[in-house]
Amino acid sequence: MSGIELGATGKLKRRSVVRALLQDRDGLLAIGGLGAPAWDITAAGDVPENLPLWGGMGGAAMMGLGLALAQPTRKVAVITGDGEMLMGIGSLATIAVQKPRNLSIIVLDNEHYGETGMQETHTRHGVDLVTMARGAGIADARLVRTAEEVIALRAAVHAGTGPIFAQVKIDEASEPLVLPPREASILQARMREAIMGKAAHLQ
């Protein structure tokens, strides 16, 4: 898969990682954590199978769990940031106990709070999310630093061998804003319709 680029720091460029993960997605449902990951999934294509979050910090992974349990035949990817994941880090334990085969938690780790002035997060100071996920009981917990590892991650997301946790070290450079609709009732209704058809609105 071409187009996975490295930034000035030699780390992966976030938009190219997300574009590669969501390419030819075959119905993959994606939840984007608030801030840059929500803009990243939107930049890859503002489609109904995306649920970009404008808030609910710390909740993205658990939203993925509820969705994955409700739709066991669909693949679900939560794509979020290191700050958002740290706020809901206990949810890795909850997810590990539930063992959803169709759920992947992918953390785009730039080691900073990007939306609030690039303050450093704990991952900047050695906190190892992969080890925390593995300790929680997620056996497939992986560190992703190269294009090849992104391609392998994409294959694993679609294989349904989860739960998967991936910490993707990315370049910290900000990308241009690509905003999804801000009216969140539209965001949930369009995803529900994509999954269940018009009947979703009569549930």
Binding site: G56, G58, G59, M62, G66, A70, G90, S185, I195
Partner: protein, 174 residues
């Protein structure tokens, strides 16, 4: 209905079945222990024990995205952990029913339970939640039924608070 004083947890379980609840998220409370046992024994209900209650607000949102109904069981102290996450259900206009067993409410022994117990209804209502209380065993099932109906029919957070007069105050032998 048989003896509501003893059977109200079973009546809640029957309501969960009637409303086709498929996901039950919870942080345990002694007052919910019988209901939790019923849910765990039911293969059609996925029970998730949480590390903190706001996980449940997020999980119920995900469940609804996927077309499944869920409910969050917790004690009143856990309501305090949920406050900002309720914005998810409010902004998306999605159902979020909560069944809360009260502490710090009526004859409480533990000082730490009182501040949140005393504030539970006020705080939930400040976050746009429709709150109904039941203070007698006979009132629990109709109140929970209303909470479930209002959540799934009108797409918002709703809560039943089950008073400590129903559950009995934990006295630590005092």
């Amino acid at each position: 209905m048989s003896d509501a004083a003893a059977d109200w947890p079973d009546q809640i379980y029957a309501l969960l079945k009637e409303h086709d609840i498929r996901q039950v998220a919870l942080v345990p409370d002694a007052g919910h222990s019988r209901l939790i046992k019923r849910c765990l024994a039911d293969n059609d209900i996925k029970v998730a024990t949480l590390t903190t209650e706001e996980e449940g607000i997020a999980m119920l949102f995900g469940a609804w995205l996927g077309g499944e109904k869920g409910v969050l069981l917790m004690q009143s102290s856990g309501v305090g952990n949920c406050i900002n996450m309720l914005s998810v259900a409010i902004a998306h206009r999605t159902p979020c029913p909560m069944i809360v067993t009260m502490r710090g409410d009526y004859g409480e022994f533990n000082p730490f339970q009182v501040p949140m117990g005393n504030a539970t209804q006020t705080v939930l209502e400040a976050m746009g939640t429709l709150v109904k209380r039941s203070d007698t065993p006979e009132d629990v099932a109709p109140t929970v039924n209303a909470t479930l109906r209002m959540a799934f029919n009108t797409y918002r957070p709703t809560a039943t608070l089950i008073g400590q007069r129903v559950i009995g105050a934990k006295t630590f032998g005092k």
